[in-house]
Symmetry: C2
DNA sequence: TCAAAATATGCATACTTTTGCATATTAGAA
DNA sequence: TTCTAATATGCAAAAGTATGCATATTTTGA
């Protein structure tokens, strides 16, 4: 039930509505755990049924009302306990790699295209990562404790992303030898 | 339905039983797409119901009989067509990163332990990767086409793995400043 | 001879994720 | 005024994945 834990993690410091959570997920925790708004709304209700989240409706002007969720004491305790559970390694399942196992002269150009698209997407993401790091995490040693953890997650994202760019370049060169 | 495609990919060159597939998955395609034997057996039946795989029972001496699956013409066509479909980027969902967002002085030691365990696991995996690369993929440019694709997948695994080791070291240093 | 290990396959259930659909409010532009 | 976009929430069905349980054959070693 890690989506629930990801949601609670996002609610550690701020109370948020489902809509806000879904949007924030796209530029923060969602780097490491993506979820659709349907999943998020459903999970929020489950969590509040368990009394791990409190809910309150907020009347807004200029916008539809929203339901804002916040962590309860029980939620914080459950989340803190979950951190101590042991995690089995999770393999990234990636279609692209399975497709590469099927490389032939007919699909080489298509796969090059897919890799090029991924490369561009990763560059955009890296740009975002770097922006966040420069703004909020320039000197990790001096950060408050929890922010150090966030910094480390971001750091992994950046390193893996840069690595991925390098791999794309290697792949595109090798694929070019197939296309001809 | 990418598990099906991963299974068919594994059957491109060899006919295999569910048991053999499950074992091979642990040291090859399973690096990029892991599945339990239960999933594999179920998927094999689905694929053969679709006539994308053929099945035959093989009588063995010294072992229980096995059911060996092989790609049909229709299966090869379906797989080849699938390679041309476009893949959306898949985010690696990883509990450990969500847990890092919850870093505090109480759980820092536990998280260090988890990272150390992951580091060791990755080292074992890298050892395997390297062994395979040295044996089968030393000069990528001269490989037959499909093997070039497999090489690239392996190459990504190796680079990302080495990157991960470096990140683990960085993380352990920073976490040590929290524990004290 | 008995137990353990490797080989071999499978069902049932639960959980998670994806996808398609559905609805409502308000602002601002055409 | 009507349409579009952003905000906001949700249901239902299907597909995919994970987990626990169950069973059978044969070799090998104790």
């Amino acid at each position: 039930m890690a989506l629930g834990h990801a949601i609670m993690t996002a609610l550690l410091d701020d109370d948020l509505s489902g809509y806000e959570l879904a949007r924030d997920f796209e530029t923060s925790l969602g780097f490491f755990w993506q979820a659709s708004h349907q999943q998020i709304y459903l999970e929020l209700r489950k969590l509040s049924d368990k009394h791990w989240l409190s809910k309150r409706e907020v009347t807004q002007r200029g916008k539809p009302n929203k339901i804002v969720y916040g962590m309860t004491r029980a939620g914080r305790e459950a989340l803190a306990a979950w951190v101590f559970t042991s995690t089995r390694t999770q393999v990234a399942k990636d279609d692209l790699l399975v497709k590469l196992y099927n490389l032939d002269s007919a699909n080489a150009a298509h796969l090059s295209g897919e890799i090029t698209a991924r490369r561009e997407e990763m560059m955009r993401r890296l740009y975002l990562y770097e922006k966040i790091r420069r703004r909020h995490y320039s000197i990790p040693e001096t950060l408050p404790t929890r922010r150090k953890g966030v910094y480390l997650a971001l750091s992994l994202g950046i390193h893996q992303g840069e690595q991925f760019l390098a791999w794309c370049d290697e792949a595109l060169v090798l694929l070019a030898t197939v296309e001809n």
